[in-house]
């Protein structure tokens, strides 16, 4: 039962005089753990580590492009940098981070003690981790005995026939294939686990329409993973067959097709955007109500919009291929479906605004990141609608305009959402608050840096600068814009540095958080910070979507209005 006593008191106090165990024991405990909280944190740390690595790669590219005719890195290294940056950020940073948030929070929010399959959970994490290690091993081992290659340099979507043995000599491309293949198994396993946990382990009273929106959105995310990551796994098997067994799937000289690789890749690639952005939406849908002191506006419409996004996201992939040349019927279909997906996304934006409207908004750091993410989602969505029109895309496909558009989504919404989540749930995970002052510095520096970089990145795209070029001549009107874009990186790097200082500093010196520092309404705040291994001493029973509100306001509980 959920009662007021269990909120005010920690459930477990270690007996006095118990010695801390040696550090090797503690490391061992983390390696063999099947606890969803430890695995969630490991997912997060792993993803954030790769976020920094991918960020360093991006910085190197931006230094190279800051000035015309620059030679900061070699052209070969530049190709490796954009390939590794894209692959790292999508598969080994963003995916682990969103899985980490889901794996940590979903059981706590539905009142469960762990995931449905704890050992599968550990397996999924370690497979993802192995994938990243394999990819990065390519830098030292990719040349193999033949001395050709190094890191993969075929671009993150690795179009055929560049990946054929004739054009990708050595093993660098194989590391790319196997790294993604292996982590794909981990992703599918974790998705299976998330769905099963949500369907089977909800606490008594938690019907589907009382689940926190974070849980709903992560359920849809996991479902998209099942349907989207699997095709990529299949395509990687085909590519391996081509490269190692002499197959002809993507071999145009033997009747194979290079275009079908594009289809297979983007059948994964576009739903993947929603795999990453739905968890960010999920964070927004939890944080904005708490800091507006109002329940979410239009709960059921949010759920329906999420399902609509999940459904439509599976039928928009070929808008990545307008420039390849398709029939006008195919073009018309993918223009329509791509424009259509803006509708449920727009509904979400209005729901967040509706939640803030008339609320007592508290601008703590998590809320700052969320408000910025909502605004940036609007702009990213608008450039998305521009690009969804095939004729417009013919002009700007593969330009820096596209690069700016999708970074607006990935940084402006997903990374901002992730930072909001970290500032919001860090007290739950560690028991201490992150510094509000450093957090504000982090937010404003990152916001300025983000807008310097990605607002101005649209301009060289409109002026005709293609993506993935190594360098450019002066006198095309691109110089000043590229310089501004690179200057923005300095602000972002500074912000990330402050954030790292904050995360490590607050772990030891942060203000003690208590169980419920934000006066929130979902179940994870009813247990101690950090939660005990078993999460809840007794399995809670809920009667509404905001169980802690009911508890704190027995005179006016939510379930009266259901």
């Amino acid at each position: 039962m959920l009662d007021a006593d269990s909120i005010s008191k920690p459930m477990f106090v270690p007996p006095e005089g118990v010695q801390a165990r040696p550090w090797l024991d503690r490391v061992h405990e983390w390696i063999v753990t099947v606890d969803h909280k430890k695995l969630g944190l490991m997912y997060l740390c792993y993803g954030l580590l790769f976020l920094v690595i991918g960020g360093v790669e991006a910085t190197a590219m931006r230094i190279q492009l800051a000035l015309p005719n620059n030679h900061f890195v070699s052209p070969q290294t530049f190709n490796q940098l954009f390939t590794m940056h894209g692959t790292t950020m999508i598969f080994f940073s963003a995916m682990p981070i969103v899985f980490g948030i889901a794996v940590y929070l979903v059981p706590l929010m539905i009142g469960a003690r762990d995931m449905a399959f704890p050992r599968l959970n550990a397996w999924g994490f370690w497979m993802s981790a192995l994938g990243g290690i394999i990819l990065y091993f390519s830098w030292v081992g990719g040349s193999g005995l033949y001395g050709a290659g190094g890191a993969p340099d075929v671009g993150w979507f690795a179009y055929a026939p560049l990946t054929s043995p004739a054009f990708s000599v050595g093993h660098s491309t194989d590391y790319w294939i196997i790294g993604i293949f292996v982590s794909g198994f981990g992703s599918i396993a974790t998705a299976v686990n998330i769905i099963t946990t949500i369907l089977c382990l909800r606490c008594p009273g938690m019907t589907l329409n009382r689940m926190p929106l974070l849980v709903w959105l992560n359920a849809v995310m996991a479902f998209i993973v099942l349907l989207a990551v699997s095709p990529l796994t299949a395509a990687q098997v085909m590519l391996l067959i081509d490269r190692y067994l002499g197959g002809h799937f993507f071999d145009t000289q033997a009747g194979g097709s290079a275009v079908i690789w594009m289809h297979f890749f983007w059948v994964f690639g576009h739903p993947e955007v929603y795999v990453l952005v739905l968890p960010a939406f999920a964070v927004l849908s939890e944080v904005i109500p708490v800091f507006s002191r109002k329940p979410i506006f239009g709960y059921s419409i949010m759920v329906v919009a999420t399902l609509a996004i999940g459904f439509i996201s599976l039928s928009v992939w070929a808008h990545h291929m307008f420039t390849v040349g398709m029939t006008s019927y195919a073009n018309a279909f993918f223009v329509a479906s791509t424009a259509a997906i803006a509708v449920p996304t727009g509904i979400k934006i209005f729901n967040w605004l509706g939640t803030m409207w008339g609320g007592k908004i508290i601008f703590k750091v998590p809320m700052l990141f969320c408000v910025a993410a909502v605004c940036q989602m609007l702009i990213a969505g608008l450039t998305g609608i521009m690009l969804s029109a095939a004729p417009f895309d013919w002009q700007l496909g593969n330009s820096y305009f596209v690069v700016a558009h999708f970074h607006y989504v990935i940084l402006g919404v997903i990374v901002f959402g992730v930072f909001a989540a970290i500032y919001y749930w860090y007290p739950k995970a560690t028991g201490r608050m992150l510094s509000e002052r450093l957090g504000r510095w982090h937010f404003w520096l990152f916001l300025i840096g983000f807008h310097l970089t990605f607002d101005f990145m649209h301009v060289p795209g409109l002026l005709g600068m293609p993506r993935r070029i190594y360098t450019y001549d002066t006198g095309r009107g691109w110089d000043i814009w590229n310089l501004i874009v690179t200057v923005g990186v300095v602000f972002q790097a500074l912000a990330i540095l402050l954030w790292v200082v904050n995360v490590f500093g607050s772990y030891y010196k942060g203000e003690v958080a208590g169980n419920d520092p934000w006066n929130a309404w979902t179940l994870e705040w009813s247990t101690t910070s950090p939660p005990p291994d078993y999460n809840f001493a007794t399995i809670p029973v809920v009667r509404s979507a905001r169980p802690l509100w009911d508890l704190k306001h027995p005179e006016d509980p939510d379930w009266k209005y259901e």
Binding site: M1, L2, D3, A4, D5, A116, F117, L120, I188, A191, V192, N193, I195, T196, L199, C200, L201, R202, C203, P204, G205, M206, T207, L208, F223, L226, L227, A228, V229, S230, P231, T233, A234, A235, V237, M238, I241, D242, L245, G246, G247, H248, F249, D251, A254, G255, G256, S257, I260, F264, V267, V541, V542, R543, P547, D550, L551, P554
Partner: protein, 197 residues
């Protein structure tokens, strides 16, 4: 704090934890279906675009082994019924029959491959048709082999007397996978031996 205690009838929880194996298996089947879809789409897309021997010249419809595989779905259902009633001996017998039928399918497929490779010269690298054929049929065959491995593990435990009536739910999950493998063969059989012939 009895006053603030919130009680709700247990009936409001729609699905119970003991069904998690089944739900997880359905999720896995969803993911696997997506994988097979990609290979089937490739097969259909490439049909008729290959050089070398055409499917019509070299493929014969594997009627016998298909019947064997389809019947194995029936035998495992009978096995499930037996273990639900607690009749372990009967369960073991039906399980054994299932494994034999599955093994016949694997053997028959391998014989077909042997004939294709050594008599017709169709290999995975010889033509686009070969690449597609061995990939799609091989993907299915590998699933049959994984299923057989799991069924055989259960058989060993059953012969050692370790399988009890309480394991019926888990056997049900395994049977679900086996039905999926059979269902996929309906698709693969129609695509490879009829539609794209």
């Amino acid at each position: 704090m009895a006053a603030s205690t919130l009680t709700v009838p247990q009936a409001e929880v729609p699905m119970s934890p003991h069904l998690r194996g089944r739900v997880g298996m359905w999720c896995l089947i969803t993911a696997e279906s997506a994988i097979f879809t990609i290979f089937v789409v490739a097969y259909l897309y490439y049909a008729g675009k290959s050089t070398g021997p055409t499917p019509r010249e070299v493929l014969e419809v594997p009627i016998f082994i298909s019947i064997c595989l389809f019947s194995s779905s029936f035998t495992i259902v009978m096995g499930e019924k037996a273990i639900h009633r607690g009749n372990i001996k009967l369960f073991t017998a039906w399980l054994f029959a299932t494994i034999i039928l599955g093994a016949i399918f694997v053997g028959g497929s391998l014989r077909e491959w042997y004939r294709l490779i050594y008599e017709d010269g169709v290999t995975i690298s010889s033509s686009l048709f070969g690449t597609n054929f061995y990939s799609l049929v091989g993907l299915h065959l590998s699933h049959v082999i994984v299923g057989l491995t799991m069924l055989s593990t259960v058989l060993i435990f059953a012969l050692l007397g370790r399988v009890k009536q309480e394991h019926a739910e888990r056997i049900g999950v395994l049977a679900l996978y086996w039905h999926f493998v059979d269902t996929v063969w309906v698709v693969v059989l129609s695509v490879v031996y009829f539609i794209a012939r």
